[in-house]
Symmetry: C4
Subunit: 256 residues, 4 copies
Amino acid sequence: MNETTVVEYGEKALDRPVMVVGLPGIGLIGKLVAEHLIGELKAEKIMEIFSPQFPPQVNVNPDGTTKLVSNEVYAWNGDEKAADMLILVGDSQSVTNEGHYELAGIYLDIAEKFKARRIYTLGGYGTGKLIEVPHVLYATNKADIIDEVKSYGAIFNEGELSGGIIGASGLILGLGELRGIEAVCLMGETSGYLVDPKSAQAVLGVLSKAMNLTVDMKELEARAAEIEKIITKIKELEQQQQPGPKEFTAEDKYIV
Amino acid sequence: MNETTVVEYGEKALDRPVMVVGLPGIGLIGKLVAEHLIGELKAEKIMEIFSPQFPPQVNVNPDGTTKLVSNEVYAWNGDEKAADMLILVGDSQSVTNEGHYELAGIYLDIAEKFKARRIYTLGGYGTGKLIEVPHVLYATNKADIIDEVKSYGAIFNEGELSGGIIGASGLILGLGELRGIEAVCLMGETSGYLVDPKSAQAVLGVLSKAMNLTVDMKELEARAAEIEKIITKIKELEQQQQPGPKEFTAEDKYIV
Amino acid sequence: MNETTVVEYGEKALDRPVMVVGLPGIGLIGKLVAEHLIGELKAEKIMEIFSPQFPPQVNVNPDGTTKLVSNEVYAWNGDEKAADMLILVGDSQSVTNEGHYELAGIYLDIAEKFKARRIYTLGGYGTGKLIEVPHVLYATNKADIIDEVKSYGAIFNEGELSGGIIGASGLILGLGELRGIEAVCLMGETSGYLVDPKSAQAVLGVLSKAMNLTVDMKELEARAAEIEKIITKIKELEQQQQPGPKEFTAEDKYIV
Amino acid sequence: MNETTVVEYGEKALDRPVMVVGLPGIGLIGKLVAEHLIGELKAEKIMEIFSPQFPPQVNVNPDGTTKLVSNEVYAWNGDEKAADMLILVGDSQSVTNEGHYELAGIYLDIAEKFKARRIYTLGGYGTGKLIEVPHVLYATNKADIIDEVKSYGAIFNEGELSGGIIGASGLILGLGELRGIEAVCLMGETSGYLVDPKSAQAVLGVLSKAMNLTVDMKELEARAAEIEKIITKIKELEQQQQPGPKEFTAEDKYIV
């Protein structure tokens, strides 16, 4: 395989769908949201993307069968309230620089093929510290939809994201703009150290409002509760190690 | 040389052979098994693969002559019990990401050309600790041959290999599945620190059963015994350094 | 997007312009000068260059809108004293080795299209220490313009720049020579640790003389003054930490 | 510039020349020998090779003019004793893996164009310690010229070079063999820490014998003497720091 290959599974009629992109990234937030949506909506797999820009790897299922690293596109037919949806999810982003550009171009081809009305790319925003109530930040390639996006609960403070947005989540906005495809990136605040289902819940909350969707969040809540327990444990352990009278440790490397 | 080049040495008729792949990897297990098989079966070299995806290197033979880094394909005509065989062995895997995909594709082209009935890729599974009796793990791209593979002595415990299988051994399964070629990866448990002929023996044991082969293992046994001696020595040295009363060392970096 | 793409915004007539290149590099000197010139001269954006050789990134504007990483070309119609100008500025240089060569070739194509009479590439020269009065060093791909360049105030001491000039600033000279395009690199001395508007001022001084331009430097002066304050603060703090009787610190790692 | 470009300077008739390759590598030995030969023989530059596989860099001459990183081919018409010669020398080897293969292929194209009778690639062999009398090791892609090569003073001990030969020096042998071009690699023993004109002298001694050349070595001897002085100085300094009563230093990190 020398070129990126898109395998299509039959035809699927969609009416100007919204495309949601949840690829692996900080806190795994985008991927958690996309997988949760696919599960809850019982979306249907319509495409699979293989690429020499992905790592040379198979993943192993619980029964010992293997699955080549890929990205997948799922489709969902909306209802009287919510628009049709394309959901892009996957095992990996590109591992090469040029590959990022190539793959983002292919995702936009898919959006164009289905005449997608908008793209939401989902990700995390690393803050370096544990966040009690994660905000959801937005960025967009179209100034005149900012008020709309704010109305869904996303925020943006001047000076944030000064390092830019790296990877598919950002590139889809940048390359999308050149093609006239409107796109919004929603980023949940997250420490950056852990898989973060709580921040994923926050992102899903904003996305649900934007899509006029009602999605059961029980599974994400359960996963968030688990992670919460782990964090509490870590904090307890840290407190037990609070210094009474100072003692030397290998980490100190100095003498009083 | 700007492209991967396959040099063929004459024609060789094979009847739906099994392809065995033993390239360098953890513990050198796959390579040890493949080279042992080639030697014992007196298999015949029929192809050599050169590629700008391999390192820019020649190896030097004991007499000072050089050999460009390559992969090689050997052929063996089976007998009334064992099927014909193709054995892929070599000095290196690809050093670039895309090269892994390109080369795995070329290996599958060779399998298809010879109408290979199945591919076994051989490798190691690093456990991080010394293993007394190494198991052989399997993974496969075809669910309905799992019971057969288990009957040869390979095992799989749910949750293992959660990091996936990286490199040619995995990619041949992943890309093979897309082409409808059934493939099994056999991985010998190994510490990850040493060349491991003992684990190679275990893998060869499973493969021999699968192939209905009887192969003399003396050479592998001798190499395993040598390595065993080295390990015993290391353990002795470690025990002699067991701490009596604690003394400061350069590693301690602190003071009581 | 699999290839570097140049988007042109209308036609612009220029009479044998001088091309000025200010891309990100040490001390951000070239970029500071080029952006300052664009602002002061109210130069007009005529081209934008996007490339898979740039990082896969969008930058985020203060209002939350995004901008794909790019390089931009601005044009300015000179006056009775100063020649017409092309100014190349941008967010990034290539992140791949081959990309550097490809992009430098594209910049030279643009220079040739406009029949540029000369190219000035601007950058910094890292000295590793704080510089009170930064000199401006030159290098050129054409020996017989050296005296002219010196007359603008740039200097060169034998043995300097022995490590060569890396990146677009150098490559445009090297590849330009092969095409018969004369080019000069102007490098402001800089510590290498900080954005350096003071060194940018020095480079702009030389360039203004070369271009017969009068440019208001107030903005650069203000930024230089700010950085100066920061440096003074750092020096004060360092002096306060001057050792009286030696105390142990984590950095010492030893005992007297 | 998107592709490797060979610029030819006029025609030069050569009668089955020997090609000598001295590119940058360990101890700069190959480059020192090739440059010395070019200077002493007053060889004529006939080709220059530019490539996006080289670093994106210009070097700066003592007068401030620049020179794009390249490789160069020089030609020399032999005499009644010595054969004609092609000498390849340059600023850099490829910085990418595939580039190494591409460039070695181009060097072999040049050898074939001139019907070169043999190629000598020159380099160093790092031993990790200072060598008083450096040997010259050989490796070759043709077994039946080993005795001849030994007669010139090069040696080879079984088990040496077990790590192979990496880069152009090795690849020219490997790819040359596939094209039926006989080639020898001569490697001077060297510490690996310093430019090594003394080892270059040793390699030039073997090459001169092989070529039936008489070359003045004064310049190399002078450079070797300079380096020798530096080494002596280093050794003196080390001896002065020999411990009398042990004192703690930052390097010690422990306490007796």
